[in-house]
């Protein structure tokens, strides 16, 4: 009887595979083949039109000796700082503050307005966000220098994006502005799960704010993990704001791997070298994703125990 039932269930489970065919075909065409071609190209010298010439690991060896390549990855680490670390910490502090202090004293409407206001930059295409700031920081007519002059700090007026000493910092500040809403909204949603009584009990036990902050961060660590992974990957892929604001300049002051690969593809016709940079980016991003999935699986195991 049992085997009969099993075969019956198996029969019911048949016939689903055909539904996967269009999806898989498109996947192979749009992702699979281009991905393999990109890896192959990274081992060749190619200008995009003629035949591809196999050169082994030459492109990778070239990358490791290339100061522009290293500059792009160093800048990338700083972008992670501006996209993941700073907004993450401020977002977490702000979320806990709103949850544990502010919303007990003021109506939820005010909290909602603060949340929506800080989230607003996130709805823009990041390129448009770049355009907005490119205009505000413009050295000739930009509002920021105008404001500095208006409040008597005219001496500080500066070509913020065009000078090597401030270009990267300016882009980083813009990214903090753009990103802050994302962790804030995710963390505030996560805090809905936290029982307010836990916090009140902690307060009664004499836990100070730092203690309570740590309790909350511990309770919402799955969301913290998700935010850290998604924003780090996002920082590694960052292209739009660099393209719009600085084109990697002045010099190589704001170059990032994504823009460096783009230059090699479409401006310098070094397609092989560009592909090697893209492949290295892929390796880092896949490595991070796998690491993240493992940590996540481990956390779930701990919670089950």
């Amino acid at each position: 009887m049992e085997t009969l039932l099993a075969t019956h269930k198996e029969r019911l489970n048949r016939g689903y595979a055909p539904f996967l065919i269009p999806g898989l075909l498109l996947f192979v065409l749009v992702i699979g083949l281009p991905f393999l071609m990109s890896i192959w190209t990274s081992f060749t010298k190619w200008n995009g039109v003629g035949p591809q010439k196999f050169v082994g690991f030459d492109n990778y060896i070239k990358a490791f000796g290339d100061t522009t390549f290293w500059a792009s990855f160093t800048n990338n680490l700083l972008m992670i700082f501006a996209v993941t670390v700073v907004p993450g910490i401020i977002g977490l502090a702000l979320a806990v503050f709103l949850f544990d202090y502010f919303s007990r004293r003021f109506s939820p409407g005010i909290t909602a307005v603060v949340k929506a206001g800080i989230y607003l930059p996130q709805i823009l295409p990041v390129a448009i966000a770049g355009i907005v700031w490119g205009w505000i920081l413009d050295p000739n007519f930009g509002a920021f220098n105008g404001i500095l002059r208006a409040v008597g700090l005219g001496d500080l007026a500066h070509d913020w994006l065009g000078s090597a000493d401030t270009a990267l910092l300016s882009v980083m500040a813009i990214m903090v502005w753009f990103q802050l809403g994302y962790p804030l909204v995710i963390f505030l949603a996560a805090l809905q799960r936290v029982d307010p009584q836990v916090m009140e009990a902690a307060a009664l036990d004499g836990a100070n704010w730092w203690h309570r902050f740590r309790i909350v961060s511990y309770l919402i660590r799955p969301e913290i993990l998700v935010v850290v992974l998604t924003t780090t990957v996002y920082a590694l892929k960052l292209f739009g704001p660099i393209y719009v604001l600085t084109r990697g300049g002045p010099g190589h002051a704001t170059i990032v791997p994504s823009y460096f690969a783009y230059q090699n593809f479409f401006e310098k016709a070094n397609v092989g070298y560009g592909s090697a940079i893209a492949t290295l980016m892929t390796l880092i991003i896949l490595g991070l994703t796998i690491l993240f999935l493992r940590v996540q699986a481990q956390q779930e195991k701990i919670e089950e125990v």
Binding site: P22, G23, F35, R105, P121, I131, D138, G181, S258, A278
Partner: protein, 277 residues
């Protein structure tokens, strides 16, 4: 929970929060007020004053210069097509992987997650090359095809996990009644999961609208460009004065503001639906 008493410290907190929020919002305000000035007004009173008269000349000039109507249409056409077909793509895949337990489903899921995590830089040149070979380079179809897969892959992953919690009794009841797989999909699974599909549609639409890298590469001709591309390319080409630059930024961000207000309820519903699951 009773509201606590407001002390001077809590009022200070309110003041600080208001300052932070205003600081974050200030670029929007600055862009909005300067888009409505004449160049002479801007030169005379600077960026912080309100316009002497609300003048739409910069906006209309920029609108005509980039053929903004055409760009809006391009963006809408691409985003809506990707959202509709992308949801369909995710629905078919997730039906096979989440409702049916096709052999090797875990591997298929891993493939689809990878498709969504891969940096577009690694796909860009081959896609550019293939698009040229297939004569769809410069045609919105190229961008549409790519984003159907990239976003549909994310949808597959999400929808499969939603479907794995789909009530089995409903599926078995339909099959005992003699429904074949297509009937099961279109008459049972799709209608029941319509709210989730609507959330996916919204996300796909907005993500596609906001895309920059691949549309920049695949749509070089002015006639086919999307809103974000057209605005940033125009920015680079012309020597724009302050009010015109401000107008272009305002036109770039307005559609997103409208979508945000329009879709806000679907999106919050999406978040709550996710937490119930």
């Amino acid at each position: 929970m009773a509201e606590k008493k407001k002390t001077w410290a809590s009022w200070l907190a309110l003041l600080l929060l208001a300052a932070v929020t205003l600081l974050v919002l200030s670029p929007f305000v600055i862009v909005a007020i300067n888009a409505f000035k004449t160049p002479a007004d801007y030169a005379a009173h600077g960026p912080l004053a309100f316009p002497a008269a609300w003048n739409t000349e910069s906006l209309t000039t920029f609108w005509d210069r980039v053929d903004f109507t055409g760009k809006l249409f391009n963006s809408l056409y691409i985003s809506v097509t990707v959202a509709v077909v992308g949801v369909l793509f995710a629905l078919l895949n997730a039906f096979a992987l989440g409702i049916g337990k096709v052999k090797g489903r875990l591997w298929f899921l891993v493939l689809f997650i990878l498709a969504n995590t891969l940096p577009q830089e690694t796909l860009a040149y081959p896609i550019y090359y293939f698009a040229k070979a297939l004569h769809i380079y410069g045609n919105p179809v190229s961008v549409i095809l790519v984003f159907i897969v990239i976003q549909g892959a994310f949808g597959t992953y999400l929808l499969s996990s939603v479907f794995s919690a789909f009530p089995r009794e409903m599926i078995e009841a339909a099959q005992v009644d003699g429904a074949n797989k297509s009937t099961l999909l279109w008459k049972v699974v799709a209608p029941v999961s319509l709210p989730t599909l609507a959330v996916l549609f919204t996300f796909f639409f907005i993500w596609t609208w906001n895309e920059f890298f691949l549309p920049l590469i695949l749509l070089p001709s002015n006639a086919a460009q999307t809103v974000p591309i057209a605005i940033s390319v125009t920015q680079g080409q012309h020597n724009m004065d302050a009010t015109m630059a401000s107008a272009s930024a305002l036109l770039g961000l307005l559609p997103c503001l409208i979508f945000f207000l329009f879709f806000q309820r679907t999106l919050t519903r999406g978040v709550t639906a996710g937490s119930i699951k």
